[in-house]
């Protein structure tokens, strides 16, 4: 069976809700699937254990910014996604080393774009996936965020038209 984006999106949605309902991916709420937040939890957990970059609490415990669910052991969604996608790409023979041809998607530019995307995502409190998850959790600021993401993509598309 061919997997379309609509089917994949529906399954992701159910997984996101089930992650909170049955697998204790809480607190904070609406945290079942998030790329930026789970990456942040993983990176901060590793960084704080190697070198206590954010300092110590009064009792001597490490300060690890992020979801309280990741304090003792971080969520590993990122690792799972990378392994799953490598399996899918190699089973279907789509794995190939490549570099984007346009200059703003060459590696050196993508490094800074990745940094800016992460900073904007954490300013708002979630990547596009968690924004949608929060909107489905009926959080009103997330609707504002979704509208602003659409506005940002609209401006980005105008810039892309100018660049190409």
């Amino acid at each position: 069976m061919r997997i379309t984006a609509a089917i994949a999106g529906g399954i992701f949605g159910l997984l996101g809700a089930a992650g909170q309902a049955f697998f204790h991916v809480i607190p904070p709420p609406a945290y079942g699937i998030c790329i930026a937040c789970h990456m942040r939890d993983l990176v901060n957990w590793i960084a704080a254990h190697i070198y206590p970059i954010y300092g110590l609490k009064a009792g001597g415990a490490l300060i690890i910014p992020g979801g309280p669910v990741s304090y003792n052991f971080p969520l590993l969604t990122i690792v799972g996604i990378l392994i799953g996608a490598v399996i899918a790409a190699s089973v279907n023979k789509e794995f190939k080393w490549k570099v984007m041809r346009v200059w703003w998607q060459r590696p050196w530019a993508e490094f800074f774009l990745g940094m800016l995307v992460m900073i904007s995502a954490l300013t708002f409190g979630g990547c596009p996936i968690r924004t949608a998850l929060k909107a489905a959790y009926l959080d009103i600021t997330a609707f504002i965020g979704l509208i602003m993401i659409a506005a940002g993509v609209f401006v980005g598309c105008q810039v892309l038209r100018k660049l190409t």
Binding site: L15, G16, A85, T123
Partner: protein, 176 residues
């Protein structure tokens, strides 16, 4: 048990990675394709995600105690009130306070949260559109062997440390 969320999330990630690679799933790409070429293939994925998540929350709230704060604008206020009582802050919860996750999470000022949502949301859409896909799509492309996406992930990981070390204290100082 402490390890249940981590073990469950690695399996959630495996399923998402496999399906995302097969479907070319991208949440920013849906809006971008609609603006540029009026293609709705990926946009349907975004709407399916919203509808299924909402259906999932509505159904699972009867089964699981973990979703007791479900209509957040209605029931989330209790969480805020409890937290503020522990912090010694007196304020009344507003409908506009978000799910915890932004740098000034427990601040009682709804306006500051809206400013952060506007700034962060706009930057997220704009930079993701230029970078060629949402963070999820970049992970999939990195696994497909795109060197640009692998370098993107390095910047993405460093961005988290930069944010919590330098940007979050700045935001707290300005908006608090």
């Amino acid at each position: 048990m402490d390890l249940l969320p981590a073990i469950a999330s690695i399996f959630l990630g495996l399923i998402m990675g496999y399906l995302g690679q097969r479907a070319r799933m991208c949440f920013i790409g849906g809006m971008r394709d609609y603006y540029l070429v009026k293609d709705t293939y990926l946009l349907k994925g975004l709407f399916a995600f919203l509808v299924c998540t909402l259906a999932g929350f509505i159904l699972f709230q009867f089964v699981s105690p973990a979703i007791k704060t479900f209509p957040w604008f209605q029931d989330g206020g209790a969480v805020f009130a409890k937290k503020w009582a522990a912090m010694g802050v007196t304020a009344s919860p507003s409908l506009l306070l978000p799910v915890p996750g932004d740098p000034i999470t427990w601040s009682p000022k709804a306006g500051a949260h809206i400013i952060l949502a506007v700034l962060g949301g706009f930057g997220l859409g704009f930079f993701s559109c230029i970078a060629g896909g949402c963070p999820f799509r970049q992970h999939i492309m990195a696994a497909e062997g795109s060197k640009s996406a692998i370098v993107y992930l390095v910047g993405f990981a460093l961005g988290a440390i930069i944010f919590h070390r330098f940007v979050a204290p700045f935001i707290k100082a300005v908006l608090a």
